[in-house]
């Protein structure tokens, strides 16, 4: 177990290093410096700028300086907003995104698991059809379409909920549904198929044969094993929600990290793009790592090689 943990951790570090290297290389492969513009800048000014942003050094030197900075939580200055640090964007934007993401995850789990169980227990009946029909729709409709539909009907037509902002609890409802719609549908489907599979196994027949009530069979015996695949996809789901939130934050004007990322992309603010990408990647990899470790702990059948 410890060996497996160390191996995974080592792999994560290697991947992280590669991501930083890759991002750095890609961002520095763009022709022209960050201050190349139509305006002709005098040579002294350009030199001063280059010196300020350490662009006068060789690339490997710049890279290790950048890497050292990241380890101290310093992602360098923003190229577009003078005087702003990239880490400032992250520290203001991330808590907002994280809060939205966390609420969405809780919502997804609370809704998807009962839906999946219902569909599996009522396999082939109308409840199953209903849940699976909804889940199929949820998997195929892109989140921005769901978001726009929700805004149109609930905010414009019915005037029940605000179209943007998360100042009140009401503002959270639409973003959560739009953001979690895909994961919710996916997890409900997964929960259903995994519970159905477990219910077909011998030990469930044994449990029934010894006269246990059906709820007890489902909740106590089947659920323990059926939940494992759902937990496995939690890591990728976090990743999905995080990247999905770019669009959702843009639509609902939520001042999260996604908005900073999208803005920096459209404004070509290279250091911000680089910093936020690395931060996202690190966060997501850490989440997947934690979920994987947790998964090993709860499922004793897994062998670690």
């Amino acid at each position: 177990m410890l060996r497996y943990f160390m191996k995974r951790f080592g792999m994560m570090l290697v991947a992280m290093f590669l991501i930083i290297l890759l991002t750095f290389t890609i961002m520095h492969a763009i022709p022209g410096g960050p201050f190349t513009s139509d305006k002709k800048v005098s040579e002294e000014v350009e030199q001063a700028l280059n010196e300020k942003y350490h662009l006068d050094k060789s690339l490997p030197e710049q890279f290790f300086q950048y890497l050292g900075g990241i380890l101290h939580g310093d992602f360098g200055p923003s190229y577009k907003y003078t005087g702003k640090e990239v880490s400032e964007f992250i520290s203001t934007g991330f808590p907002v995104s994280a809060k939205l993401g966390l609420i969405t995850i809780v919502f997804v789990l609370l809704a998807a698991i009962p839906m999946g169980i219902l569909a599996a227990v009522k396999n082939g009946k109308w409840q199953d059809m209903l849940v699976m029909g909804a889940a199929t729709i949820g998997v195929t409709i892109p989140s921005f379409v769901i978001a726009s539909l929700l805004i149109y009907f609930f905010a414009f037509r019915l005037n029940w909920l605000p179209t943007y902002g998360i100042d009140t609890w009401k503002g959270y409802i639409l973003p959560i549904i739009a953001l979690g719609g895909y994961s919710l549908s996916y997890m409900a489907r997964l929960m259903r198929s995994s519970l159905l599979e477990v219910m077909g196994q011998d030990y469930i027949r044994t449990a029934r044969a010894k006269g246990l009530s059906e709820p007890k069979v489902v909740w106590k015996h089947a659920m323990r094993n059926a939940l494992i695949p759902v937990i496995t996809v939690l890591g990728p789901t976090v990743a999905n929600l995080m990247t999905g939130s770019f669009v959702i934050e843009k639509i609902f004007a939520i001042p999260g990290l996604g908005v900073y990322f999208v803005n920096s992309v459209s404004q070509r603010d290279y250091t911000t793009i680089m910093g936020v990408t690395i931060f996202y990647a690190a966060f997501l990899m850490a989440m997947i790592f934690i979920v994987d470790m947790f998964y090993c702990l709860i499922d004793p059948r897994i062998k670690y090689d």
Binding site: M11, V14, V145, E197, T243, K250, A281
Partner: protein, 383 residues
């Protein structure tokens, strides 16, 4: 032969002969595939969409980029008012102009403005010599007779000039939809083919060579699969600039990991089989074995992975388009059309709903076809 039940003399030849019609693998797959109504529906939808995207532009008189600022944001179903001489209709545009509409629903020219009467909340237009007023003292605005202060009778008409209406630059939505579908499908197909080639080669080599090569190659795949790929697609788009080529390259180079894993798994199982050993014995080269023996046998799973990849490529393209880093205007894709439409979602929801519906149709269709293909190609997998 009078008695059909009479015993025939059995010869050795008869015993060996297969009496039923031979069924090819493809025929077998098709037989299982068509039993599922959802797969067939998906298949038909895909064919229709491809036809719509490929042949549709031949039948339209508009181009996807031609702007006509006189007919901005016209809906497919218009509320129109009768003209004073009752031989046509008038439509109030969002830019507070008045358009003539013929009785068959085609759009005519814009009326010329005569004067503004702001104290009466009216703009006076000239309609074939008669003065009509656009009264904006109440919402929704109406066309009135400025002399008698009466409102002309109104009705609803389908827009025959622009069947699905126009967008915020006066471009025909139907035409843009055809081009958008074409771009989206093309991006998805090309990106998936690129993915397929990279994935097949990578997975095939890794699985067939095995040993240390396999270990290293798969470790690389493991690392790549932990990287959030959406971020990298966006990053590649940033460097290469927005445009059709960069989307294809960005999507094509990133999503091959799943394909590589699938192919590797298949090759690992297949390479131990006798026909591969036989090929080795007669001295076939690694390349021949890989390309003519192993990969064709793994084609079933590859095909299923491909049909599942296409919707995610379309999804990704729409996502990028929606974020505004997809295609350069005036080129349209389904995602950019949705993005353009969000600005006036309140007044013209159809501009968003129409491309969104097409995206959903494509996603549905490919998912269903993928499901059907998986069941048809590999009946063992069926639960």
């Amino acid at each position: 032969m009078d008695n059909k039940w009479e015993m025939l003399e059995a010869t050795n030849e008869d015993r060996e002969k297969i009496w039923t019609k031979n069924r090819t693998f493809a025929g077998d797959v098709w037989f299982r595939f068509r039993r599922k109504p959802t797969s067939i529906a998906g298949f038909i939808i895909i064919v229709l969409l491809i036809l719509f995207a490929a042949a549709g532009p031949l039948f339209t008189e508009y181009s996807y980029s031609n702007q006509n600022l006189q007919v901005v944001n016209i809906p497919p179903r218009m509320k129109v008012f009768q003209t004073p001489d009752k031989d046509g209709y008038l439509y109030i545009t969002q830019g507070m102009q008045v358009l003539q509409v013929n009785t068959d629903g085609t759009l005519g020219s814009q009326l010329t403005k005569v004067r503004e009467e702001s104290n009466r909340m009216m703009t006076i237009f000239d309609c074939d010599g008669t003065e009509v007023a656009l009264y904006y003292g109440q919402k929704p605005y109406v066309i009135a007779n400025p002399q008698k202060n009466t409102i002309y009778p109104s009705t609803e008409l389908w827009n025959k000039s622009y069947l699905l209406g126009t967008d915020n630059l006066g471009r025909d939505i139907l035409t843009r939809l055809m081009y958008g579908t074409r771009v989206s499908l093309m991006v998805a197909f090309v990106a998936v083919i690129v993915n397929m080639i990279i994935g097949i080669l990578y997975g095939g080599i890794s699985g067939y060579l095995g040993g240390n090569v396999d270990a290293v190659m798969m470790r690389i795949v493991d690392i790549i699969s932990t990287i959030p790929l959406t971020l990298y697609v966006i990053l590649i788009m940033v460097i290469m600039g927005s445009g059709l080529q960069s989307i294809i390259i960005a999507l094509g180079t990133v999503y091959w990991v799943d394909m590589a894993r699938v192919v590797r798994g298949q090759v690992l199982g297949l390479k131990e089989q006798e026909f591969v050993q036989a090929a080795k014995t007669i001295g076939s080269s690694t390349k021949t074995i890989l390309l003519t023996h192993l990969i064709p046998n793994a084609m079933g799973s590859i095909l299923v992975t491909v049909t599942m990849l296409i919707p995610s490529a379309i999804f990704m393209e729409a996502f990028l388009g929606y974020l505004g880093i997809g295609l350069q205007p005036p080129l349209a894709s389904l995602g950019t059309m949705c993005n353009d439409a969000t600005e006036n979602l309140r007044s013209c929801p159809h501009q968003l709903f129409i491309p969104a519906l097409v995206i959903c149709l494509i996603m549905f269709a490919f998912n269903f076809v993928g499901d059907g293909l998986r069941d048809a190609l590999d009946p063992k997998l069926k639960k």
